[in-house]
Symmetry: C2
Subunit: 253 residues, 2 copies
């Protein structure tokens, strides 16, 4: 019987982000699955006080919950990550991202976490129990992952229980499999991409693009556009320079 502790995935480089999770039992179950499989980095995104006390009753998961932190915004929760992966039930909404099944996505996540010099950090996002991740929240993601499920006639599209979905995803990442190959894609911190996004939006407003093309100016739409650029760190710096220059030119008296 293999021992999980010897698995090559560096589990400190994967962050689980729960966005608008409501049920303390679910939060506790997520923490317990993380504890069982050796993960420690849990972030909660909620704009109201999270009932963490109730969740802390989860058996054995107290260490994970005590180390967890609450962020006000998703951008804050994924800052520092070089790959942001959203989980979604297929068919829930219009998908404008690369959508991979769990077992297709696992190698990409493992590769990112295996990046040399500890530069790769992955955020794995789970939406609220009722609605999943919103379009705006999905726009922060570099790729989307779905757990393939059985379809049942006459029933609404299936979605998994939150604690079970997290357990299944984490297991797929640490189950024995082919060797992990570090990625060669250039790393860029999600916070850097968000800065490009913010500055681009400022430009779109300053140039009255948003006024004239309202339909195409939805912030989530623009953020997806930026994420599709697959920006490396250097390119992000170049783009920030270009956008600042544009703003300077426009705002000149």
């Amino acid at each position: 019987v293999e021992v999980i502790s010897s698995h090559p995935l560096d589990r400190s480089r994967l962050r689980v982000v729960l966005v608008r999770a409501r049920n303390p039992n679910n939060i506790g179950a997520v923490a317990r699955a993380m504890h069982d499989f050796g993960f420690t980095d849990l972030r909660l995104v909620n704009d109201y006080p999270v009932p963490l006390e109730a969740a802390r009753s989860a058996i054995d998961a107290s260490a994970v919950l005590q180390a967890s932190s609450v962020a006000q915004t998703l951008a804050e929760a994924v800052a520092g990550c070089t790959l942001v992966v959203g989980t979604t039930a297929v068919g829930e909404r219009d998908i404008q991202h690369t959508l991979l099944s769990l077992s297709e996505a696992a190698p990409a996540i493992q590769s990112e976490a295996a990046r040399p010099d500890s530069q790769g950090r992955v955020a794995l996002l789970f939406g609220s129990e009722k609605t999943g991740l919103s379009n705006d929240e999905l726009s922060h993601c570099d790729l989307l992952l779905t757990i393939p499920m059985a379809r049942h006639e006459g029933l609404r599209h299936p979605s998994m229980n939150l604690g079970q979905a997290v357990a299944v995803c984490l297991w797929e990442l640490i189950r024995p499999g082919p060797p992990i190959e570090p990625t060669t894609r250039q790393p860029t911190d999600a916070a850097e991409i968000e800065r490009v996004n913010d500055l681009l939006y400022e430009v779109l407003e300053a140039t009255e693009y948003t006024r004239r093309h309202g339909a195409r100016s939805d912030p989530a739409e623009i953020r997806r556009l930026v994420h599709r650029m697959s920006l490396g760190t250097l390119d992000a710096q170049v783009w920030l320079g270009i956008l600042r220059q544009i703003l300077w030119k426009i705002r000149r008296p």
Copy 2:
């Protein structure tokens, strides 16, 4: 993205057996995971009324729960199965069985379910939330499976939440992987093995073996002995004949 419905595992040939599960929420969570992954055969072993009404509130899982049945004994719940797999947390007790990790056990389960002429049926057993499967319950198993977990210093040995453990096991069975090879091992119904076991125990009592070798006559010990025989159906018939003959000889006036 692959569709789970096309997975080659015949999910009607896997039975999930919950032994002494107490918490209706857990039973509901198990049913929901089965529903999500396309499994339908759920048996509960309890010697008291199961709070199924409460469990039936589980979203989307009502079809699985409605089709589920309650057995008084484990032998009854696994009758008809040709491979009985127990799940256990390592270190909980003395293991006298073949113990495989989840990903090692999955091919064995898939092979059994792929047996030609639909002869292969697998029972996957999960024990109670607090104590897992007892030694007596483990003695009904042909092999044991454990989900490898992280060890944490100073904490008791980890065990997973029941709903999460079932979800992770079922996912491992239907995730895309190497092709499934039907087993060539001879199939024997668990009920047949139980008949050999019962008759052997009768012989041990009739011959006063149990009286003279009390320490070695624990029923679970004897059942494990019988399971280690890896009886094919024909051999089981032969053994039943031998044991009946012995009893006849002993009881002759």
